[in-house]
Symmetry: D2
Subunit: 291 residues, 4 copies
């Protein structure tokens, strides 16, 4: 919906996400509050979950209202419905911490896309348990630290450094870009809902070591990757994005690894992009993706 | 949004589509009317066109309200905003007339999917300017008529039969399933907005006879199909759906034809499905597709 | 390569598949034999397996030579290299027995494609442990038998009927089109390399009952299907074809089932088509697919 | 086919491409020559063109033979069949000159992939008719020159610089990475078969200025890109690769441009990769792509 054209210098472009217990009249109440905030809805998506009974919404709104005025206009509705909600500027770069180990494909893809303006994030630090990726990260002009993890004490030190960096840089998202250490339950809890991991995926799944070799031995025709929120239940957090690519019998185990890494890179970058654009909402163990 | 659970036997599942000149407050007004109609919105999509300044919306609503009560609840809003709007039951089979010539692939695909319950249409008649497809159509138990078109008089007779069939069967959609005659401007006008055609498409486009042979000669790597509304401007109506498929140098012109026909079949069926589900709205020369 | 154009009425179109222990000179020997058989290679694919050390080849050859002359020309090569090989006419319909239970989607797809000329098979019988699909199979004019399986004795009777039908109709391929009984190890052995099964597939895999409900609960973004050869190791035979399709949070468990069934249908039909065209060769636990 | 394992330090990995007038016995003769060169065929593709009567082949061969020995072994065959042929080391970086104007997306993608080891080329120079991209190219450490083109004389000077650079750097491929000047017929001829261009593509095609705006106005559902060899017939040279991506009504003309640029980048990089791997052969106005 359009309002009379405002002076461009005062026009904000807001993204609003919210969720609450579902019930009659929510959309009506929200749209009324947007009108009160002199807002023009330019994008709107909603979903009512039959699983949890919750209602979810994402709006992009153009408005001359300041943040204070906008929040004040929404307050009666968000309070009455006891909403979890978030207000942000469209396109604001999300402060993102990247954790890595020795594999560079995901880190490279994230930094390249960030630099090319395809990913609305800023990355104040890449933190690794190895020094391998220093040159790659330097190339993009991003600070890099490495801190070896060899035993329980050094692991605790690494995780303490993660939490310190989160504080120091006011981090909103932690990305495990092939960081090959299992996070402690405490760190998983501290980063709940704002930590994304990537791993390879196969049809069918393969347990145990060297899944690409197993996939080759079974002659799988599709290999892929899954990006998901980190929970203390290893590789079982809410799924954000998945992709697969077709392979055939002529591919060696080494080629399958290379193909799988490409899928990991693009799947992780896609998940980070959606998260940064506030398109990912949590509904219990599931994600709602407002693409 | 949910209302208290109604007795299931009285629960309607409505699909509402509407469009009007865009302006502040439309969503708020509509959602208010849905609340008044004791409705629970289960699916909602909207779009504001910067090209035409119009606002478009599609809603699926569960409600115990009868059609009369529902329409009465919406009337103040639709009148105030001078909306074009439509109310229908979700899943109702659309009365569809199919026109064909000698090629059977699109007709076969439509009849198969209709019979398999994948296409919410009923087809009271297939009308052709040839007798070729009689056995195929008989196989699906659908009435078939043929009427040769050889000159201006027989063409006029065929088109008169089309209009009579539209009347007789209260037809809501006419599908040109590789009907190889050009419709007269009068018939195009009479069927405006409810007649869908299919044709092959290439990158780049090829003019003139035998485009598949030209496509082969140029070694194109993609061939496809476009489903569009029929207008008196041949092959230039609003596009509903397009698909392409990858081909390579090893394909003969004959194989390209077969591959192109598969694309035509699935593209036409997809367009018909979306139209029957009220997912296709017209915005000037463009379509809005609420998938 | 072309030979001088033969009288068309004598021109055969042969498909040759072969495998043997890899070694220098095989392609040279084979191509020499084809020249001796007055053959013109129109399609040729080869693969050397590093896993098993075996060499695989598929050729399509136009030749005026009769089957006897063709076999005689190849014999010195196939004998010297101790090849497993097969000679057939391109496009010959494969005699195929279909086993089913109550779900009709795969059976319907196979029968539809067979009738539409898209699948080079003939189906002399559909055999089921339920009567549910009789009308569907009748519609396509294919004989149908049902034989209840309720205990060990009736299961043995059903499997005996399968083997009798294989004999009686000289069956070359058995397709489990959602046949929901586990085959006995004896039947698996008897049908080794000529029995194809289909099942749903997920990223990640889900164990136990109602995988679609589990997939919904985890919010998976891709669901798919796998067609594979039947071995006595349940759902673990060599994979022939896999497909996935994208889904999102808005899909109910019931919709996921419908989407998964579409994938099962097209994946099974694709696998049957490649098998019938002699494009599927076995390399230990893997398949070579010469698409 | 395998030969006895050679000492690894002497093992070459050759790629052989060839074409000649089709006739019986070619494959037999070639495979015999490979045996004579102590070669082990690891990849092999062939195609007989019914359009031109020519036969095409690409082989990857492991052999301990030196280039001289290898060429000597093939000579009798290539001479007898009057073959056009080429022998190269697998993976050798192709010397590639990039021409650009002001748009950076294709240049960036080529340089990024080259640096990431995904593209077997070396790029001694990026030459532009504008200075816009200097910083981008500097970032990758590649030499950059700009030379304004404003009239016939400066255009001739630019093209002379292109030919001088081709000589100086022994260039094997010239890539027009959104170079927005039309090449003179003389330059097209001088670079025939080794100059690749990229342009956007639509279904249907749009003539005239601002095709993205036209595509938006028609509501196209697919936009794409075509990479092709440059000939003096503008945008009509043999097609190497094409891609499309799905769009919908919600995309502004500006977003369509961004999406189209992504397709241009990946399509051009794919075409360059196949060319550098000697997978692209010319058959009259068509390309054979041995993927």
């Amino acid at each position: 919906m359009t309002t009379p054209p405002p002076a461009p210098e005062h026009l904000h472009h807001w993204v609003v996400t919210l969720s609450c217990i579902d019930g009659p009249g929510i959309v009506h109440a929200i749209s009324g509050a947007i009108v009160a905030a002199r807002g023009n809805i330019t994008e709107s998506q909603q979903f009512a979950s039959l699983d949890t009974g919750r209602f979810f919404m994402r709006l992009q709104v153009e408005s001359q209202a300041s943040r204070d005025e906008f929040e004040a206009a929404l307050a009666p509705v968000t309070e009455r419905w006891q909403m979890q909600w978030h207000l942000d500027e469209v396109g604001r770069a999300l402060r993102t911490l990247v954790l890595a180990s020795t594999a560079g494909h995901c880190v490279n893809d994230l930094l390249f896309r960030q630099r090319a303006g395809q990913l609305p994030v800023e990355i104040p630090l890449v933190l690794s348990n190895h020094g391998t990726l220093r040159d790659l990260v330097d190339f993009y002009g991003v600070p890099f630290e490495s801190l070896a993890v060899t035993d329980a004490a050094s692991k605790a030190a690494f995780e303490a450094r993660v939490l310190a960096a989160v504080d120091e840089h006011d981090i909103e998202l932690v990305v495990l870009a092939r960081y090959m250490q299992i996070l402690s339950p405490e760190l998983c809890d501290a980063l709940a809902g704002r930590c994304i991991n990537i791993h390879h995926s196969f049809l069918p799944g393969f347990k145990g070591a060297n899944p690409y070799r197993q996939a080759h031995a079974r002659g799988v025709k599709l290999i892929g990757a899954t990006a998901h929120f980190v929970t203390s239940d290893l590789d079982e957090g809410p799924i954000i994005e998945q992709n697969v690519v077709r392979v055939d019998h002529s591919r060696s185990p080494g080629e399958l690894v290379a193909i799988g890494q490409d899928e990991e890179s693009r799947t992780l970058s896609q998940a980070v992009k959606w998260f940064a654009e506030r398109r990912v909402l949590l509904d219990g163990a599931r994600t709602i993706i407002f693409r």
